[in-house]
């Protein structure tokens, strides 16, 4: 009797537990909450303090910009209603749109704009360049201000409409007055989404809600420009460090979109009928090899040039991406499909001519000094690059000492100018977002200002002159000629070696998520969610 009561209780308990536990779960999602998995967790909230792309993406959610780049890479007004350029090209007068408000209800004024541009200009390389030409910002009234230049500068609008890190986001004056080297602690913007600070759980999720008072432009959305119409109530960025888990969650309908699933999971996603792959960034990315100009043997341009002869793009792209749908061999430094696309100076380069390279090394007197090649092992999109470089270089007679490390160790080490035998380095491989390298001024690796250049520290007056001329030029035809000159010079100096374009496909629930904008950064205005 006692045993049967226990058994009956156990069965009832199990049934109850099962009823609680094993209920289908997909129906639990709120219809107007878009749940996405971004490429990394959001840790820092100041898009001026860091160049990290996840923080740039956060910036696009909550801040707005004066100008934006559209799908055709043209710069279009965003917060700006109208602007005029004086005949001598020294004064730009900007008037803000009506009805621009911050999330705290205060109107956006020219004071906010000027303070924001100053803070951005203190950190961003393109901003620094712009501010070096600026004589003054003059406030006309709450909605109008003038940017007065010392001498004509051809990239004013391109700078203000810069699409990638650091983006000149507009913040309230009190926030923008924060020291550029101190992280902001007030996250009020005037963008289409509001950052839900109370719901932010670092390492877990970041929540944005629709900003009801946001006034989108009337033009249709195009790239990062045009009307930013919010079609969902909330966007949740969920942190999922395990890609397989994110893919499983997408298939199970627990999330709606993955920004950047790795290439090895693309076949799984392609085979899944409920999933749609979306190439939201058609400009893609560019693989790059950076050489350290400070130390032997790469202090010799002839040895550096031998590397440009020995490498070829396809080997790298096949080794990392694999699927030709997601890569493109492209010898244009400023990206194929853009106005500055050119193959100038590329004849005979990046074609793995081992005999030619071997001869060049002999002529340069290369003595077999081992090349310390840093190999990043923890980022899938970079892991296979260094072994390919090692293999190709060794076939031409280079001795290569490939040292494996995690990306953060590499990032710290590449900043060191010490000799490679004392903790320094000779070469490493990385990737740029194409939107960051569309011209010689934007492209950080082209900076050849010796100590002031990025790690690798190329030093070339001629290159700096070309970049300077480019920044002063506003005629597109002359800009193109200067870009070609910069590309030729870059391959002579070997500021860096571009190793092909590659693309990431975002993955979305088919029939549920629609309208993901085609842009250099993942943005969520105009995205709608139908169904559960």
């Amino acid at each position: 009797m006692k045993l049967s009561r226990i058994l009956a209780g156990a069965i009832a308990g199990t049934a109850l537990g099962a009823a609680v536990l094993f209920t289908p779960t997909t129906g639990a999602q709120a219809q107007n909450t878009l749940r996405v998995v971004m490429h990394s967790d959001l840790k820092i909230l100041d898009p001026i303090w860091t160049t990290a792309y996840i923080v740039r993406n956060h910036g696009y959610m909550i801040y707005d910009t004066l100008f934006s780049m559209d799908e055709k890479l043209d710069v279009k007004p965003q917060m700006v209603d109208k602007y005029e350029v004086s005949g001598d090209k020294l004064t730009y007068t900007f008037t803000l749109r009506d009805g621009l408000k911050f999330h705290d209800g205060n109107p956006v004024t020219t004071d906010d704009v000027i303070a924001s541009l100053r803070r951005w200009g203190a950190k961003d390389s393109m901003g620094q360049k712009l501010l070096s030409f600026v004589k003054d910002f003059e406030k006309v009234d709450a909605k109008t201000f003038k940017l007065v230049l010392k001498e004509p500068y051809g990239l004013v609008l391109q700078s203000l409409g810069k699409p990638s890190s650091n983006v000149p986001f507009i913040m309230p004056k009190r926030v923008a007055e924060t020291d550029p080297n101190t992280q902001i602690s007030d996250f009020i913007g005037s963008g289409p989404f509001v950052f839900a600070k109370d719901e932010w759980r670092p390492g877990n999720k970041t929540v944005y809600t629709k900003f009801a008072d946001y006034k989108p432009r009337s033009e249709p959305s195009s790239g990062l420009a045009g009307g930013k119409v919010v079609k969902v109530d909330r966007v949740e960025w969920l942190s999922m460090p395990d890609h397989q888990t994110a893919v499983n969650a997408l298939i199970a309908g627990e999330i709606d979109f993955i920004e950047a699933p790795p290439h090895d999971l693309v076949p799984v996603l392609k085979a899944e009928k409920s999933i749609e792959l979306v190439t939201w960034n058609p400009l893609g990315n560019q693989y790059t090899m950076r050489l350290n100009h400070l130390h032997k043997p790469f202090d010799n341009p002839k040895v550096r040039q031998a590397v440009t002869v020995v490498l070829n793009q396809e080997d790298f792209l096949k080794a990392v991406v694999g699927d030709p749908d997601y890569y493109k061999v492209c010898k244009a430094m400023f990206i194929c499909g853009t106005p500055l696309e050119s193959t100038a100076g590329m004849d005979g380069l990046l074609e793995s001519k081992f005999d030619v390279a071997r001869k060049m090394l002999q002529e340069a007197g290369y003595d077999g000094t081992p090349i310390v090649l840093m190999h990043s092992t923890d980022l899938q999109v970079l892991t296979n690059l260094a072994p390919v470089a090692k293999s190709l270089m060794e076939r031409a007679g280079f001795k290569v000492d490939m040292q494996s490390m995690d990306w953060q160790t590499l990032v710290a080490r590449r900043a060191k100018k010490d000799p490679p035998t004392a903790g320094g380095w000779h070469a490493f491989l990385t990737s740029w977002v194409s939107a960051d390298i569309l011209n010689p001024v934007m492209a950080g690796f082209m900076n050849s200002a010796c100590d002031k250049a990025m790690f690798g520290w190329p030093c070339d007056e001629q290159m700096e002159k070309i970049r300077d001329d480019f920044s002063r030029e506003s005629d597109p035809a002359k800009q193109k000629a200067l870009a070609e000159a910069a590309q030729k010079r870059a391959m002579e100096v070997v500021t860096h070696i571009h190793l092909g374009q590659w693309y990431l496909a975002g993955a979305a629930r088919k029939g549920v998520v629609a309208g993901i904008p085609t842009a250099p950064a993942p943005v969520f205005w105009n995205v709608s969610k139908t169904g559960k």
Binding site: G17, V20, L21, F22, T23, P24, T25, T26, D41, K43, I44, L45, W49, T50, T51, A52, V55, K123, S125, S165, N181, T182, Q183, S185, R201, P202, G203, N204, L238, S239, M240, P241, D242, Q244, T245, N248, A249, I251, A252, E254, D378, M405, D406, Q408, T409, V411, A412, R413, A415, T430, W432, D436, G444, K452, A453, M454, F455
Partner: protein
């Protein structure tokens, strides 16, 4: 007993001091620079240097240590380099999921493993024993993430009984909580079931050969009473030890499970902090883990006297 507990708690102070010095030095001597991580991939040397100065990382090591240790003694472990949050706040946010996972796992493991071990010992050499030991070897050998993905594929994707990932606090509803914790707990429990079942079996087999067991049987006690009252209790000390070690190991073992099931716990916080070189977070978490290890060892010692009255402190 109280003197013993007080003495053991006092002994944690030098342990924690040594751990603090060791962790601090280890982190500073490991390659990597949090300022470079913060500045982003495309920052220049000047930007990185400015951030280093802002974080106080350009101070001499000794100065950095004493500033950190001084604040730590007052219970202030500083602010994360990345999140605009205090380390204490970050840890508090992450304790619950890890604790919930650890408790559910250990309950599940003990409830399954101890009976399995006892049965295997009782049927020593029989087919049940072989099955239990076979499972034990399998449990040790299969990596946690393989078990995790397998369970997700079957129960979350194919059958849709439970969600693939995520965590809900029990405060938000027990149903949601159990739905999300059941698979991670089962995944993590496999290895502990294997470990505890094996030790239980070995321990009970040893005890079953003792004279007092023969006496109990000679008295005419049922086999169940002999096993539960006499054999298991006397075999408990090594079992409790292995359960205690299991709890301590769990703290480290949750990392993979938390990643596979996307549980925002301490394991993931630690891994993220290590990868980003977030020194204040790593230091505080490791100190906390060390303290927990010491407490678990103390709890095990105290549990001995409960199972074996001959042991007195």
């Amino acid at each position: 007993m109280l003197t013993f507990v007080a003495r053991r708690l006092l002994a944690t102070i030098p342990v924690l001091a040594i751990v603090a010095i060791f962790v601090f030095l280890m982190l500073r001597l490991t390659p990597g620079d949090p300022a470079a991580v913060i500045a982003g991939d495309y920052a220049n040397s000047q930007q990185i240097a400015e951030i280093r100065a802002k974080l106080g990382l350009d101070e001499p090591l000794v100065t950095q240590f004493f500033i950190w240790a001084g604040r730590g003694l007052q219970g202030d472990f500083g602010e994360s380099f990345f999140f605009k949050r205090t380390v204490a706040e970050l840890i508090l946010q992450r304790v619950e999921p890890t604790l919930a996972l650890a408790v559910c796992t250990i309950i599940l493991a003990v409830l399954i493993a101890v009976p399995l071990g006892v049965i295997a010992a009782h049927r020593h050499g029989g087919w049940i024993d072989r099955i239990v030991m076979g499972f034990s070897v399998l449990g040790f050998s299969v990596p946690v993430f393989v078990v995790g993905y397998l369970l997700i594929y079957v129960f979350a994707i194919q059958l849709s009984w439970v969600p693939v990932q995520g965590y809900r606090s029990p405060a938000d509803g027990l149903g949601d909580f159990f739905q999300r914790i059941i698979l991670p707990s089962c995944t993590l429990a496999v290895i502990y079931i294997a470990l505890i079942a094996r030790i239980t079996r070995a321990s009970v087999i040893e005890v079953l050969g003792e004279d007092y067991i023969r006496t109990a049987r000679a008295k005419g006690l049922t086999e169940r009473t002999v096993l539960m009252r006499h054999a298991l209790r006397n075999a408990a000390v090594p079992i409790v030890t292995v359960i205690g070690i299991g709890i301590a190991l769990l703290i480290g073992g949750v990392v993979v499970t938390e990643s596979v099931y996307n549980i925002p716990g301490l394991g993931r916080l630690t891994v993220d902090a290590v990868l980003a070189r977030d020194y204040p977070v790593i230091q505080a978490v490791i100190l906390m883990f060390s303290f927990v290890y010491v407490l678990i060892n103390l709890a095990i010692d105290l549990a001995y006297s409960f199972f074996d009255p001959r042991i007195r402190y």
